[in-house]
C-alpha cells in the first residue's frame, strides 16, 4: 500500500497523475505526516537535480496558512451547471434532428423510388386520399363528440368530474 502510494506520489510530482487520482492522493497527503515527509524529500531530490539547491517547506506550512485563513470568508459562487446541461440538451436535440433528417431523407428516397416504379397507381391514390379526408374527417367527428360531452358534472361526493366518466360510473 505504501509502495503504491509512493509511486503515485512520484507520478504526482511529475504531473503525470490523472486529476481524479491526484485529488485522492492530495486528500491522503493532507492527513498523513509520513507521506508529507516523503513528498518533501522527493521535492528536495528534485531541487538538487535541477538547481543544486534546497528550499523545502516547513512541516506545518499548510497548517499555518489554514489557521490564518480560518477567519476569512468562505466563497459561495453559484454552481455553473447550466452551460453543461445546455450542451447536453443541445447534443441530444442535434442527434434527434440528425436522425429525423436521415430518416426523412431515406423515406423520401424510397418513396421516390416507389413512385418511379409504380408511377401512375401512386398518383391515383394521392388524388383520392384528400377527397376522403374532406368528406369524412374522422378527427372532426371525434372533436365534435368531445366538445359536445365536455360538460362537468357537479356531485356532492365526487366533486367536479368529466360528464362522460360520471355517466359510465353510474352505468356500472
Amino acid at each position: 500500500m505504501t509502495e503504491h502510494l509512493n509511486q503515485k506520489l512520484s507520478q504526482f510530482l511529475d504531473n503525470e497523475l490523472e486529476p481524479v487520482e491526484a485529488l485522492s492522493l492530495l486528500k491522503t497527503l493532507h492527513k498523513s505526516p509520513a507521506l508529507q515527509d516523503k513528498y518533501n524529500r522527493y521535492q528536495a531530490i528534485s531541487q538538487v537535480i535541477k538547481a543544486n539547491k534546497i528550499s523545502v517547506a516547513n512541516p506545518d506550512f499548510v497548517a499555518q496558512i489554514n489557521k490564518q485563513l480560518q477567519h476569512e470568508p468562505v466563497y459561495l459562487f453559484p454552481i455553473k451547471t447550466v452551460p453543461k446541461k445546455l450542451y447536453k440538451q443541445m447534443a441530444i436535440a442535434a442527434s434527434i434532428v440528425m436522425i429525423a433528417v436521415i430518416t426523412s431523407y431515406n423515406f423520401a428516397g424510397s418513396m421516390q423510388q416507389f413512385v418511379a416504379e409504380s408511377g401512375f397507381q401512386m398518383a391515383q391514390v394521392q388524388q383520392n386520399e384528400p377527397a376522403k379526408a374532406i368528406e369524412y374527417p374522422l378527427n372532426k367527428q371525434i372533436n365534435d363528440y368531445l366538445q359536445a360531452h365536455n360538460m362537468m358534472n357537479v356531485d356532492n361526493e365526487q366533486s367536479y368530474q368529466p360528464y362522460a366518466r360520471v355517466s359510465s360510473y353510474n352505468q356500472k
Partner: protein, 202 residues
C-alpha cells in the same frame, strides 16, 4: 499542451472551483501542491529561509483573498506566481524603507533583489547541513544504475514528460514511470538517515 501540463491544469481548475463553491479545504490541496515551487520562487528574492517561508505564506493568503476575482483566464499557477513575485518585491521594498527610510519605486525591486544588504543569509550550520544533503543526493545519483539515472535526469533536468522519455529511451511509458520511482526511492533511502538527526526544516 502536453499531457502533464493538461493534468496539472485540470486539477487546479477543479480545486479552484471547489474553493469558490465553499470548500475551503480544497485550498489546502492547492497549498500542498504548490508550496515548494512558491517557496523556491520567493527564495530567489529573499535568501533567508524562514523569511522566505513567511513571505510565501503571505502570498498564499493574498491569493486566497483574491480568488473571488480569479476567472481562469490564465492558468492558476501563473496567477499565483505573479502574486508571489509581487509579495516578495513588496516585502523587499518595505524592508528597505524600514532600514533606509527612503521612498523606492516598485520597479526598483528587481534591482534591489540582488543587493546583498537586502538578502538574509543562512546560518553556517544550516548551510553545512544543506551542503551535506546536496552531496548525499548527488552521490546517490552517481550510484544509480544507468537506466534509472538517465530516466530521472531526463525528467528533472530536461523537464521531459514520461512519453518523451519513453521515446528517447525506447521503452514503454510504464517502464519509465517505474525507473523514475525506483531512482527516487534509492536516493531517498540514502537521504533519510541523514535527515533523521539533522534538522531539515529549520
Amino acid at each position: 499542451m502536453t499531457r502533464d501540463t493538461k493534468y496539472s491544469e485540470q486539477l487546479d481548475e477543479e480545486l479552484v472551483l471547489r474553493v469558490q463553491r465553499g470548500d475551503k479545504s480544497a485550498y489546502d490541496f492547492l497549498v500542498i501542491k504548490y508550496q515548494h515551487r512558491i517557496i523556491q520562487l520567493v527564495n530567489r528574492y529573499i535568501k533567508d529561509p524562514s523569511e522566505a517561508q513567511d513571505v510565501a505564506q503571505e502570498a498564499f493568503i493574498k491569493a486566497y483573498r483574491a480568488l473571488a476575482d480569479f476567472r481562469g483566464e490564465a492558468a492558476f499557477f501563473t496567477w499565483l506566481y505573479r502574486i508571489a513575485i509581487n509579495t516578495a518585491k513588496n516585502y523587499l521594498l518595505s524592508r528597505s524603507r524600514r532600514s533606509a527610510n527612503y521612498q523606492v519605486d516598485i520597479q526598483d525591486a528587481e534591482a534591489l533583489e540582488n543587493a546583498p544588504q537586502l538578502q538574509g543569509l543562512e546560518t553556517p550550520e544550516r548551510e553545512l547541513l544543506n551542503q551535506e544533503i546536496i552531496d548525499a543526493i548527488n552521490a546517490s545519483i552517481e550510484e544509480l544504475p544507468e537506466d534509472m539515472r538517465t530516466a530521472i535526469v531526463l525528467r528533472e533536468f530536461e523537464g521531459m514528460s514520461y512519453e518523451e522519455i519513453a521515446e528517447a529511451m525506447d521503452c514503454p511509458v510504464g517502464t519509465v514511470r517505474s525507473r523514475i520511482f525506483r531512482a527516487r526511492e534509492a536516493i531517498d533511502n540514502k537521504l533519510n538517515p541523514l535527515l533523521e538527526h539533522g534538522d531539515f526544516y529549520d
